[in-house]
């Protein structure tokens, strides 16, 4: 039996210019209502002392966790892992709107659809990728900073991009046992990765200014 694919997004923050195109493209492609989002660009605020200050932009969306807590807590199986693509998805027809998955997501990257009263999230544009296309955020990234593909396929865009960088430049959001597989590339020469200190990320350095509604 073939092993499940590990499709995910890889974002090269060395190349991200904080233009918010991925946010806009995501909203347009998936028809996401005002105030709701599946993808969001955060500015990790300037840190350091002048003239040695640094900042970077951190686009966040579902991290496609290997031990996805949202799947574990969902009482109906509405949140599930697709056996073919390995993606964590939501079957909205099964969602009872209990929002336990929103509580269980360590990153708060699930969205509540007020009109349909169901939980939604990034699908990595399954409707496009199943037809061989790239997700809208990847296609529309003007910095060519976003990549989509299977981590287990050495010829995928994500594997090839990650292979260009040393381990010290490859990062994941804080792991509390959920095993996020989406990866970020941030070289020390560009900025120091701030994601290790979760308290700082939430209270000190993170802003959402510029993020679209």
């Amino acid at each position: 039996m073939p092993s499940m694919a590990r499709n995910c997004l890889v974002v090269n923050l060395d190349r991200c210019i904080g233009c918010y195109s991925c946010e806009v493209a995501c909203k347009m492609e998936n028809d996401i209502a005002m105030g709701e989002r599946w993808n969001k660009v955060l500015q990790i605020e300037p840190a350091g002392v002048f003239p040695d200050v640094q900042t970077y932009w951190l686009p966040v969306q579902c991290q496609q966790c290997e031990g996805a807590p949202c799947v574990h807590v969902c009482p109906t199986g509405a949140s599930y892992r697709d056996e073919e693509t390995g993606k964590v998805l939501v079957d909205k027809s099964k969602c009872i709107g209990c929002r336990y998955c929103m509580m269980a997501c360590p990153y708060g990257v699930r969205s509540w659809n007020k009109e349909q009263k169901v939980v939604e999230k990034c699908t990595m544009c399954s409707h496009l990728t199943s037809a061989g296309e790239k997700p809208a955020c990847v296609k529309n990234c003007c910095g060519t900073a976003r990549f989509y593909g299977d981590l287990d396929d050495p010829n995928s865009d994500v594997s090839k991009e990650l292979a260009k960088y040393p381990a010290e430049s490859i990062h994941h959001l804080p792991d509390v046992g959920n095993g996020p597989i989406s990866a970020y590339i941030l070289s020390p020469k560009i900025a120091k990765w701030a994601g290790e200190d979760v308290h700082q990320t939430t209270s000190k350095y993170m802003t959402t200014e510029g993020s679209v509604d």
Partner: protein
């Protein structure tokens, strides 16, 4: 994080009903009172049912509830299964009482019902242990859920026995159970809030007041239980105080739990209300 009132009321009301039956059955096993009466059993069933209804009020698509059969290991499924089994067992017990079935059979059903009634409030709290809410990742959380519901149930048991003018031994033992449950609740709640205290700085406002209310009400319930032990023949007022304090302490602990439940990261800032 905001308090989810339907879930607070669910675990408090149904937990009180479960512990009402359990504490009365404990008295029967200790030979301090007869088996749980019809009134006690009916009150317990009503509380379980009302609590169950409260739990579904936070669901936005109750029409899809049977989809829960797809995932029988989730916390919500376990809670629903336990409350369903508990209500059915309590109904069977009640029918056996009404039909005046043999005491040994009724006792066996009562013991099984008591066992489920003791497990159920713990499992309600256990569902909240999730890595995304670091303040909740302690076994002290389900234990304090379990113990504060016990204070409410034990207080109600004391009240019903006092109102029914049970024998002094029966009322006195109900008072002892109230004291014991209050003491256990104090220990469990201290353990939980000491652990969760690290996240208090990020908690929603009012959290400290709810924590203070939790312990104040535990003390009131404990004192009321002790007074009932001392004056078993006139324990109605103590029963009222113990019940009220038990319910409020259970509510206060849960509200404080929600308010201190800061997410690990909250990128989308989507409120759950």
């Amino acid at each position: 994080m905001e308090a989810q009132w339907s879930l607070v009321l669910f675990t408090v009301i149904s937990g009180a009903g479960a512990w009402l039956f359990a504490t009365s059955m404990m008295g029967a096993l200790a030979r301090k009172n007869p088996l749980p009466t019809k009134v006690e059993t009916i009150v317990a069933i009503v509380l379980l049912a009302v609590g169950g209804v409260a739990s579904v009020t936070h669901l936005k698509h109750i029409d899809r509830i049977f989809e829960a059969l797809n995932h029988p290991t989730s916390g919500i499924f376990v809670e629903a299964a336990l409350i369903g089994v508990l209500i059915v067992l309590a109904l069977i017990y009640l029918i056996m009482l009404v039909r005046k079935s043999g005491e040994s059979g009724t006792r066996i059903v009562g013991v099984v019902t008591m066992a489920i009634a003791i497990i159920f409030p713990f499992m309600c709290g256990y569902s909240y242990m999730m890595e995304a809410r670091q303040a909740w990742m302690t076994i002290a959380l389900p234990l304090s859920y379990w113990a504060t519901a016990a204070v409410a149930g034990a207080g109600l048991n004391l009240l019903l026995k006092a109102v029914a003018k049970d024998e002094a031994a029966s009322v006195g033992f109900a008072g002892i159970l109230t004291v014991a449950c209050s003491a256990v609740a104090a220990v469990c709640s201290i353990a939980f809030f000491v652990y969760a205290g690290a996240w208090l700085g990020n908690a929603k406002s009012g959290c400290v007041a709810w924590i203070v209310a939790t312990f104040a009400c535990i003390v009131i319930a404990l004192v009321a239980g002790a007074l009932a032990v001392k004056k078993a023949e006139s324990a109605t007022a103590a029963g009222v105080a113990a019940t009220a304090a038990g319910v409020v302490c259970a509510i206060a602990l849960r509200v404080a739990m929600w308010l201190v439940g800061t997410p690990l990261l909250d990128f989308f800032l989507q409120p759950l209300d």
